[in-house]
């Protein structure tokens, strides 16, 4: 009897050990490409393809070149472009998303159901279908030349954010309505409820919205590519990185690409680790609602 129990214990321990081994192998698969790109960003020898998996020598010149070379691919300029665009579009789209989500969650009006159905239907169209038409419309507005491209990009990034209200609305739905009602009994207007009560309570989702809106212009390259075309001085970081991997640049710029990728990933990683729990909360809120 005792013997059998021992055997059981051993096999259980073995199984747990195997599970940890499996997790370790999987984690390695997930982390390896990221480690590899960090190593590549410090690699001394140029070019995309090397004879060995690990670099032969290490240097920080890739970062220096990326941040100082303004002749071929002007990365600092691209960085500033993207920063301006993403700050502006972040402010506007946060306002849009939260306004729409609050209205749909808390107010009752005739247009409400129509709006939610419309948002669902519009979401089923491929995003690129509107891209070329948006370009023509911006062209008709005169926003496709010179520095007005920036304004065009900001408009494109934030104009339709009112359709992405689901996660925020799900979160607002979980805030008890009795809080609002009590405030209204005390003479507060809907605006005051929105500003003074709902916003402070919904801090996680506000932060989440701000961050997703801020990150969007850093990782979108396709809209930016269509809008900027050959206007090199208007390029965003994403187009710049994409260009570094094109035939004419890849040999000289591949390691710089890795450096650029690491540089823009660091802030996003930090933001992401911070907002991870809000993401989970938002998702479960949306599912429940």
């Amino acid at each position: 009897m005792g013997n059998q129990l021992d055997l059981n214990k051993i096999s259980t321990r073995k199984r747990i050990g195997n599970l940890h081994l499996l997790l370790a192998v999987l984690a390695l698969i997930w982390v390896l490409p990221i480690v590899w790109i960090v190593l590549t960003s410090f690699r001394a020898e140029p070019g995309a393809y090397t004879k060995t998996f690990l670099p032969q020598g290490y240097t920080i010149n890739n970062y220096v070149k990326l941040l100082t070379d303004r002749n071929v691919l002007n990365f600092p300029k691209m960085f500033m472009n993207t920063l301006i665009i993403s700050i502006c579009s972040c402010i506007v789209s946060t306002f849009f998303v939260l306004s729409v989500a609050y209205s749909l969650s808390r107010m009752r009006f005739a247009f409400r159901k129509t709006y939610m159905n419309l948002a669902m239907i519009l979401g089923l169209f491929p995003g690129f279908m509107t891209m070329i038409a948006q370009y023509f419309i911006l062209k008709a507005m005169g926003l496709t030349e010179g520095s007005s491209i920036r304004l065009g990009l900001i408009l494109v990034y934030c104009a339709c954010t009112g359709l992405g209200f689901q996660i925020s609305k799900g979160f607002f739905d979980t805030i008890p309505r009795s809080i609002d009602e009590a405030a209204i009994m005390d003479g507060a207007t809907q605006w005051q409820v929105f500003r003074r009560i709902t916003m402070p309570l919904a801090k996680p989702i506000v932060i989440y919205t701000v961050m997703t809106a801020f990150i969007a212009p850093w990782v979108d390259f396709i809209f930016a590519k269509v809008l900027c075309r050959a206007n090199a001085d208007q390029f965003t970081v994403a187009i710049g990185l994409w260009n570094m991997l094109q035939k004419e640049y890849i040999y000289q710029w591949y390691t710089c690409f890795a450096a650029g990728a690491v540089l823009i990933s660091i802030p996003i990683v930090i933001l992401f680790l911070y907002m991870q729990r809000f993401y989970v909360e938002g998702m479960s809120g949306a599912v429940k609602g």
């Binding site: 599970l19 490409p33 491929p126 690129f128 009112g162 207007t189 823009i264």
Partner: protein, 448 residues
């Protein structure tokens, strides 16, 4: 009583002089009832509208049926001894202007209805001896009972201008000859359903490619959605086990990949999997293979590679999303199953999976839609290739990437628009069917 209802018909039938006058001079009723600012604003809108229509709008509407007829001309200038180009009609601009004019007319009709009803409402208020709200009260109300109007006007305007108008414009392109094929880039015509016929015709070149791409798109979406879902769930369960040590650490390892921008990881994967890329080098150095694996040039291998890489990209998202829900499954269910002697596999398929499917159907539909429209992964990994000679679509192209190639690269705008519409139709069908068959729709009661 019937005439108490505030409708356009009642306003026209039972309205007083000023309400009826509003039907012609918008805002008249409001002006009479001392809502000066609102009345003047509405009237200004009407004036601007008519000014636009007379100076441009009617012309745009007039041009819409023909989409322009004047081709760009070349005239020999005797004095300067050169050919001079005369500007012909630009059908694309005519179509855009026509679509916008239609929207302007629709907007003014909506405004007309609203102001007419409002005038009638004011008239009723006066008749019943109630007070007409003044401007200050109206503004105040915009921050209270009508807050949704204040909050939603700008977002709605943005959606209208940058989503709905472009969409209608693009949809209307599907019914024209706007394409580089046959040099219809400047001047094109209405073409009825011809392009749809071309796409649906299995015997034609375009039709053959369409059905091929459609097949792969659906296979891809099913694999990408369900493999990610199930494997992500299993991983989450393994991490969540009581016995697993260092849960936070494992979760961090997997979630780290989300934080790196997706287009960066995808481009890196593309380079790593090239014939002389890091993976092939590593495998060759280890002596596992002698020839590099053709990850992107063999259609079947490319498809498998894409699905596998998508697992790498997608599983962490699933992990994040299902972790919380998994912990909500009532523990008694597991206890009971174990008492009855069910094994882990049986418990997973009989309890965990049905429960998760019940709760996350909306999420699954959303991720299915997202996968059908997943542009980045195909465009950045394989670029749709390998492509056979004479085809516009590659072997791994999805409908969206094909749409991109057709419009941006080939300038076959009409075909691209048709593909976009077909994608929408397919997504609508899939969404409706899955939604209606899902247990959360059939039975809105809680699980079990």
């Amino acid at each position: 009583m019937k005439e108490d209802r505030i409708t356009v018909r009642n306003a026209l039938r039972h309205g007083d002089l000023y309400t009826k006058l509003s039907a012609v001079f918008m805002g008249a009723g409001m002006l009479w009832h001392r809502q000066i600012v609102k009345g003047v604003l509405v009237f200004l809108f009407e004036i601007v509208f008519w000014y636009y229509m007379i100076t441009a709008g009617f012309y745009h509407l007039f041009m819409l049926p023909s989409l322009g007829t004047e081709a760009q001309g070349k005239v020999w200038n005797e004095a300067k001894q050169i050919y001079e180009y005369t500007a012909g009609d630009n059908s694309q601009q005519i179509l855009l202007a026509g679509v916008i004019t239609c929207f302007v007319i629709a907007a003014i009709i909506v405004l007309w209805i609203l102001q007419l009803r409002h005038s009638y409402k004011l008239q009723k208020l006066i008749e019943n001896g109630e007070e007409v709200p003044n401007l200050r009260q109206d503004v105040k109300n915009l921050f209270n009972g009508n807050l949704h109007i204040t909050l939603m006007t700008l977002p709605c305007l943005g959606i209208l201008i940058f989503n709905i108008v472009p969409l209608v414009y693009m949809i209307s392109m599907a019914f024209t000859t706007y394409s580089k094929e046959g040099e219809h880039l400047l001047l094109f015509d209405w073409d009825g359903l011809n392009q749809f016929m071309r796409v649906l015709d299995m015997n034609g070149n375009i039709g053959r490619q369409f059905w091929h791409v459609l097949g792969w798109t659906i296979v891809w979406a099913i694999f990408a959605t369900f493999l990610n879902y199930i494997l992500g769930m299993i991983l989450a369960m393994v991490i969540n086990r009581k016995e697993t040590k260092g849960k936070a650490f494992w979760r961090f390892c997997f979630v780290l990949s989300i934080a790196v921008p997706q287009f960066v990881t995808l481009m890196i994967m593309n380079i790593m999997l090239q014939p002389s890329g890091a993976i092939n080098v590593l495998l060759q150095n280890l002596g596992l293979i002698s020839e590099p694996i053709p990850f992107w040039t063999n259609a079947t291998i490319a498809r498998i590679t894409i699905i596998v890489i998508n697992l790498w990209v997608g599983i962490p998202y699933t992990l994040l999303q299902v972790t919380g829900i998994l912990q909500n499954i009532p523990g008694e269910l597991y206890e009971a199953a174990r008492m009855d002697g069910a094994g882990s596999a049986k418990i997973f398929f009989r309890i965990t999976l049905p429960y998760m499917l019940f709760v996350t159907t909306p999420y699954l539909i959303a991720s299915f839609v997202g996968n059908i429209n997943n542009f980045n992964i195909i465009y950045l990994l394989s670029g749709g290739g390998p492509t056979y000679v004479g085809d516009t679509a590659g072997q791994t192209d999805l409908l969206v990437t094909w749409l991109y190639k057709l419009t941006i690269e080939k300038q076959y705008y009409n075909l691209g628009a048709v593909i976009g519409i077909m994608t929408f139709v397919i997504l609508t069908i899939v969404t409706l069917i899955t939604y209606r068959n899902s247990s959360s729709y059939k039975n809105e009661e809680a699980f079990m």
